[in-house]
């Protein structure tokens, strides 16, 4: 691989990320500034707070200053890594996010892998047996799952597996009265299973449909027709020419789905009370915890950006046509 091109690519992506962070900070700050919420008053609430603390808060938010300097003040804070203090948790936003994000990443990663593998397999089967009952079942499943509201599926699962069958507790957070650190792996796993399955079932639909259509496309291409004319057939043909040509686009698509994955996680965590970043975001929004909400917006943006950048990277550096093509041009 050409390390120089890779370095250039990464530098370019990094610059774009910085610009993106600044732009997102400005936009989200503006939106909050326009809203009826006052971050200082929301933080103080009904507490008794010393005049000193109020002054500190006002300085952080740039109260009584013109909008422009408020924004520059805020963006400056962020670039220095100071995201403020969470209203709900009364700890620095960075700490809340890092703890919550770890929990969410476990959930998202698990379902991302499951949905990817399952979706690709189902899509390949459907494409291979186009028009048969296998294809129709997979297609029907995908259509319904794509149209199903995430939180409704989560509700149904909760009803069936927790309420009716009693396999899982209804509140899936950490058991009450236990410190997060004391939770055993087993208890934690039990709480992960249902949300992860819900989230993966929804992810399956998109990747399966994509894989199916792509495989059908490839199977009707000239080079597969030629391979058939040379006596190749069945699973070997699919393996040699089909999978080879659809695996990369499918992986790329899976990386491009981080935005939907995150949205799905927010809803699923809310229904299952899973202590992740999504649940924190909803709580922050409902309770006007401005610094936490803005912090989560920023982190989720970086998360989605990374997915897109990896997809780009795969496209540019793994596909031999693009990879070699570029070096040939120079």
């Amino acid at each position: 691989m050409n390390y120089k091109t890779l370095g250039k690519f990464l530098t370019y992506k990094f610059i774009r990320l910085v610009i993106l962070i600044i732009a997102v900070s400005i936009i989200s700050f503006l939106l909050i500034d326009l809203s009826p919420i006052d971050p200082v008053r929301a933080y103080i609430g009904e507490m008794a707070v010393s005049a000193e603390q109020i002054a500190k808060l006002q300085a952080y938010w740039g109260v009584n200053e013109p909008l422009i300097s408020k924004i520059t003040n805020w963006v400056g804070n962020i670039l220095q890594g100071d995201l403020g203090t969470s209203l709900i948790y009364r700890t620095p936003v960075v700490d809340v996010i890092s703890e919550r994000f770890t929990a969410s990443l476990t959930l998202m990663f698990t379902s991302w892998v499951i949905s990817g593998v399952l979706g690709f397999t189902l899509g390949t089967l459907a494409g291979m047996y186009r028009g048969t009952w296998i294809d129709k079942t997979v297609k029907g499943y995908c259509y319904i799952l794509l149209a199903a509201p995430t939180f409704w599926i989560a509700l149904l699962f909760l009803m069936v597996f927790s309420v009716y069958l009693g396999w899982f507790p209804t509140g899936l957070g950490v058991p009450v009265g236990k410190l997060a650190a004391d939770v055993t792996i087993w208890e934690w796993l039990v709480r992960l299973i249902l949300p992860a399955i819900t989230l993966s079932l929804l992810g399956v639909a998109q990747i399966a449909m994509f894989t199916r259509d792509k495989l059908i496309n490839v199977l009707s291409s000239d080079f597969v027709v030629f391979a058939k004319s040379r006596g190749e057939s069945g699973w070997n043909l699919i393996k040699r020419h089909g999978i080879r040509n659809i695996l990369l686009p499918a992986i790329t698509l899976q990386f491009l789905s981080f935005s939907e994955l995150f949205g799905g996680a927010v809803l699923v965590e809310q229904v299952f009370s899973y202590p992740g970043i999504g649940q924190a975001a909803v709580a922050a929004g409902l309770k006007s915890d401005v610094p936490l909400l803005l912090g989560i917006v920023l982190f989720s943006t970086i998360f989605v950006f990374c997915g897109n950048a990896i997809a780009d990277l795969i496209y540019k550096f793994v596909d031999p046509r693009i990879k070699e093509g570029e070096s040939y041009e120079q």
């Binding site: 080079f223 391979a227 004319s229 040379r230 006596g231 190749e232």
Partner: protein
């Protein structure tokens, strides 16, 4: 020693298509096609580009698209060639040389594609050796082995495609448009490969729109017109003034060549789906009969060739001359494909232009 390899009789291929609005219609692309090939023989099917000749190749190999329907009979080595048998012998006894690099998997290295699917490691090793041998013969260096199809030049791609057919020692090779887009030297080289195969007692079916290529390598030439084979002539008949050719279209075609009279005929081939009820050449024929307009002539044997024309016997004996035309329209006729490659409206424009220039000339 010659043995009959493939006999194709009365093959028709049609497609189900939407014509206008909600109506579906059957589009006939190949009608009532008959021909045969023996080992060591090169038979060319000559027709204009985009006329559906390639479908003949696909039908022999059983790889027609699913919305195509095929009727007629094929035999291979005297036994019925049905879909099951096609699937069994394709790539083994019958090999295809496809028309473009698009027929290679874009993500697979060339050497792996040429050897195709292997049963085991040993099989793979021996095939790789053979592939190297063939590449050596065709002047493809060792670097080519590890290239991807998009890295091949036009000439290299053609040689790679020819190699794919040789790896399995086929008895019959179908070459689908092997010459377009190549420079003169590469064309000659490709045709030499085909000649070499015929010398090795392989039967070659050459599907082409390049009349020069067909005349230079083929033993027999089947002329394809509007989905019909209208004449199957021996290559020796294309000589002199074409007096041994029978069908008026074949004669016109021959006389349009630069090295002969360079004469141009008027009109265009009927498009698919607009076939007349009678002889497909009726509109353009200079000596049609009443019968020709409503009844389709069948391909009949006359001495050692086959012709689809009611007046074949007269034409054969009397050699009715074709109408002559002014010679200032020569520039349109370098190859028969050129006119049919135009789209419909362009064709109309072209015909009008011809008509007006004729008037001006007179």
């Amino acid at each position: 020693m010659q043995e009959k390899l493939l006999e194709v009789s009365n093959i028709s291929i049609s497609f189900l298509q939407y014509s206008a609005g909600l109506r579906q219609s059957n589009l006939k692309v190949i009608s009532d096609l008959t021909l045969d090939i023996s080992s060591g023989e090169i038979v060319a099917v000559l027709g204009s580009s985009g006329s559906g000749k390639s479908l003949l190749a696909h039908s022999i190999l059983g790889i027609l698209p699913s919305n195509a329907s095929l009727s007629g009979k094929m035999t291979y080595l005297g036994k019925d060639l049905n879909q099951k048998r096609k699937e069994k012998i394709r790539g083994d006894e019958i090999a295809l040389i496809p028309q473009s690099v698009n027929y290679l998997d874009p993500l697979m290295k060339v050497s792996n594609q040429v050897i195709g699917e292997c049963e085991n490691e040993e099989d793979k090793k021996s095939k790789l050796l053979k592939q190297r041998e063939i590449f050596e013969k065709y002047g493809l260096s060792k670097e080519v082995d590890d290239m991807y199809p998009f890295q091949l030049s036009g000439g290299m791609a053609r040689r790679v495609l020819v190699s794919t057919a040789l790896i399995s020692n086929p008895k019959l090779v179908i070459a689908d448009e092997p010459t377009p887009g190549l420079d003169e030297k590469s064309v000659e080289e490709t045709l030499n490969h085909l000649r070499q195969m015929a010398q090795d007692n392989v039967g070659v079916l050459l599907i082409t729109h390049d009349i020069d290529a067909a005349l230079s390598v083929a033993d027999k030439i089947a002329i394809f017109y509007a989905g019909y084979v209208i004449e199957i002539a021996n290559v020796e008949d294309f000589s002199g003034n074409g007096e041994n050719l029978i069908h008026p279209y074949t004669k016109a075609l021959y006389n349009a060549l630069p090295q002969t009279d360079f004469k141009l005929t008027t009109g265009h081939q009927p498009l698919h789906g607009e076939l007349p009820p009678g002889c497909p050449y009726f509109e353009r024929c200079d000596n049609p009969t009443e019968k020709c307009s409503n009844n389709l002539p069948i391909l009949t044997e006359i001495s050692d060739k086959k012709v689809r024309c009611y007046r074949a016997n007269e034409f054969k004996n009397n050699n009715v001359a074709i109408k002559e035309e002014s010679s200032d329209e020569l520039h349109h006729t370098d190859e028969i494909g050129s006119f049919e490659e135009l789209n419909y409206s362009e064709k109309l424009d072209y015909i009008e232009e011809k008509d007006s220039s004729k008037e001006a000339g007179v």
